[in-house]
């Protein structure tokens, strides 16, 4: 008698599955799906921060991905592709259950993300076991590709070449004589600051470590001025960078403020104020958007300009969409496709090596002028 209920429940669940399957496949296209060689109704996932403190970065990337998807779906009206959004808030703890949820959904055949290094580190093994290919448009921690995950790919350079390029830029382009190096004690900030410090060698006139969420940098300003530095490298994020740049200027320091991709955001200028931000140099392994991309992007984003990682989001989605156009429909096919991919995207020539890193990376330098971040230019030879 007791077994009756589970049977009923199972029957109902099965019926529900059938119904929901009808729901997603039916609708506007009633023609048989298997007609074309292309697989229809494939799903991809995006994982990154869409709400919370880092939402800007996630929204930049997901809108880039949506733009690619929109272009594809317009050309293939009879055979749509879906991008499902998983909002991790960039938090490894929130990302882990989401990762398990999305690998268990067999309809999902590829992941754009995870966006942050921390969440990528926490979830990489889950994706690897499920053989679900991931291409991150933004996670830059160099160690991520050293975990031996077959599914991991990254569509931009890491902090390692970025730090090297930044040091080169400070040494050669800015021709700085003395450089002060500040980090924010975060994993990311410490690594970048350490790399720049190592590459600059004798040019480093002093170092300091600040705290995240700190707002008063009086002692740091005093140290920077006392060191006589004509350039400052900051490894950290834009919230602290803006305040630091502002207080350096207010304290009478006249050198050049240089920082990395964590600061490449309009929030830096909002925090620093235009006059303190102007002249700052921000390096990034991410590529700037050109005019036509900007125009198309604005139609998707509701008017806001493309930001950091928007073009990478677009390219990542396109790698997957081209696979769909070629008739790839399973996780194994997708992984194979990405591993063997070699074509030009809007950001760069995309080709991954064994570990999932790009075989060739470019680091860009963005200058702040007139209260705006100008389109970046490649740092030569980096």
């Amino acid at each position: 008698m007791t077994s009756k209920k589970p049977i009923w429940a199972a029957a109902l669940a099965a019926a529900g599955l059938v119904l929901s399957a009808c729901g997603t496949t039916g609708g506007e296209s009633a023609q048989p799906e298997a007609g074309a060689s292309k697989a229809c109704n494939l799903e991809f996932a995006f994982m990154g921060p869409l709400t919370g403190d880092y939402a800007n970065l996630g929204i930049n990337a997901v809108n880039g991905a949506k733009l690619a998807l929109d272009e594809y779906n317009k050309q293939n009206a009879d055979c749509q592709v879906v991008l499902r959004e998983f909002d991790s808030q960039g938090d490894p703890e929130k990302a882990t259950p989401l990762a398990s949820e999305l690998v268990n959904d067999q309809k999902i055949v590829g992941l754009v993300g995870p966006m942050f290094s921390g969440e990528t580190n926490a979830t990489g093994e889950i994706f690897n076991e499920a053989k679900l290919v991931t291409v991150t448009p933004s996670a830059t921690n160099p160690d991520l590709s050293k975990n031996g995950w077959d599914t991991f790919h990254r569509l931009l350079g890491t902090d390692e070449p970025q730090g090297a390029a930044a040091a080169k830029y400070i040494k050669e382009t800015l021709a700085a004589k003395k450089v002060f190096v500040v980090d924010d004690a975060s994993e990311y900030g410490k690594f970048l600051a350490g790399k720049v410090e190592k590459d600059l060698g004798d040019l480093v006139a002093g170092t300091d470590t600040i705290q995240q969420k700190q707002t008063d940098f009086g002692p740091t300003v005093t140290k920077v001025k006392a060191s006589g530095a004509d350039a400052l490298w900051f490894g950290g994020y834009y919230a602290e960078a803006g305040l630091l740049a502002k207080q350096l200027k207010a304290g009478g320091w006249k050198g050049t403020f240089v920082s990395g991709d964590g600061v490449l955001d309009p929030g830096f200028i909002e925090g620093a104020g235009a006059s303190a931000a102007n002249g700052s140099i921000l390096t990034c392994p991410c590529a700037p958007a050109d005019a036509s991309f900007t125009e198309k992007y604005k139609a998707i984003s509701g008017g806001s300009d493309p930001g950091t990682y928007s073009t990478e989001g677009f390219d990542t989605m396109n790698v997957f969409l081209q696979a769909v156009a070629e008739g790839k429909a399973t996780r194994a096919d997708m992984l194979d496709w990405v591993n063997n991919y070699d074509a030009e995207g809007v950001t760069k020539q995309i080709k991954f090596d064994q570990s999932g890193e790009l075989s060739q990376v470019t680091i860009y330098a963005y200058k702040v002028e007139g209260g705006k971040i100008m389109p970046g230019t490649p740092i030569s030879g980096a």
Partner: protein
């Protein structure tokens, strides 16, 4: 040695930082003096003041090119608005988060939890204002006020510090002076008000002995409200000085500052008005000296070690607990 080479610079910037701590600490200390309760939502009262300053400048049309005279006028207006807003939020807190509990004679711990809850609500309302405005369909009209609501919001005007006087190796700027002097002035005003006015006497009476005060015809509800209001007004003034000096705020800007201000209040002797100021200044200077001596990442460690040391030798803080006592 770095500290001694730059002694005046570090001390003066520390005093400016400490003045803001001191003004916010007033709110903690007064509420504690009257209710023996720590109003953990006071940091949010301060944070609303910072937003009031920025938004007033938006409304008045401040831009980076606004003339110095214009900026001064706008800042005076924002000072008034920030004090009104912070005072209002403090009164609202008293009405919603405290009075229902006090009326029911709830234990102090319950009020503490209520304060922490109120603090989260107040902070998240600002942190989610973009979404709230979106849900109400207002975001097109007030886009500038709600965009990027979890990110820092900066002052629309440009405040450039001007050198005033040179002490040894450091050029004191008008902003340092303005912040320190206005904080001192505010403190003196509150102190005198509580000492000399009728309502001030009421506050002291309730702090000393609420029951006797009630028997003598003091309306204790009114007195508690007044205490919250005064604390809120000072937080609004602190918010204006903070925005002049730091220039950037965000939904969680109150948190760390609140912790520091509370520390200042305890350091000076919680419940003691002058203690709040002394505690604030000592804390600000200690942070800067500590940063210079050991390293910037150690500044909080230095500040809190100092707190522990002071409490070891003077368990009631530098000046002792005494809002109700004769000394205040």
């Amino acid at each position: 040695m770095f500290l001694f080479e730059h002694f005046f610079e570090l001390t003066l910037t520390g005093l400016a930082l400490g003045s803001v701590y001191g003004l916010v600490a007033l709110g903690y200390t007064m509420v504690y003096g009257v209710l023996q309760l720590i109003n953990f939502a006071h940091s949010e009262v301060f944070m609303y003041g910072t937003f009031a300053v920025v938004w007033t400048l938006y409304v008045l049309g401040g831009t980076p090119t606004t003339s110095t005279g214009g900026v001064i006028g706008m800042l005076l207006a924002s000072l008034v608005i920030a004090m009104v807003v912070s005072g209002g939020v403090a009164l609202l807190l008293e009405r919603v988060a405290y009075r229902p509990l006090i009326n029911r004679n709830a234990p102090k711990l319950v009020a503490l939890i209520s304060a922490i809850g109120a603090s989260f609500v107040l902070a998240e309302v600002i942190g989610l204002r973009g979404r709230i405005a979106g849900a109400l369909g207002l975001d097109d009209n007030i886009g500038r006020f709600v965009q990027r609501s979890r990110d820092a919001t900066g002052m629309p005007v440009e405040i450039v510090p001007q050198p005033v006087v040179r002490i040894v190796d450091y050029t004191v700027t008008n902003i340092d002076l303005l912040v320190i002097l206005s904080a001192l002035l505010m403190m003196v005003m509150v102190d005198q008000y509580i000492r000399r006015s009728r309502l001030g006497r009421g506050i002291r009476a309730v702090a000393q002995d609420p029951e006797s005060a009630a028997l003598m015809g003091v309306n204790s509800t009114r007195i508690v409200q007044l205490t919250f209001l005064l604390g809120g007004l000072m937080a609004g003034a602190a918010a204006t000085l903070y925005m002049i000096r730091i220039g950037v705020t965000r939904f969680d800007a109150g948190f760390i500052l609140g912790v520091k201000a509370f520390t200042a209040a305890v350091m000076g002797g919680i419940g003691n008005l002058r203690g709040a100021l002394v505690g604030g200044l000592v804390l600000g200077v200690a942070e800067n000296w500590g940063s210079a001596l050991i390293g910037t990442q150690w500044k909080d460690v230095v500040a809190f070690c100092l707190l522990v040391l002071i409490l070891l030798f003077r368990p009631t803080g530098l000046l002792g607990e005494s809002l109700g006592k004769a000394r205040v």
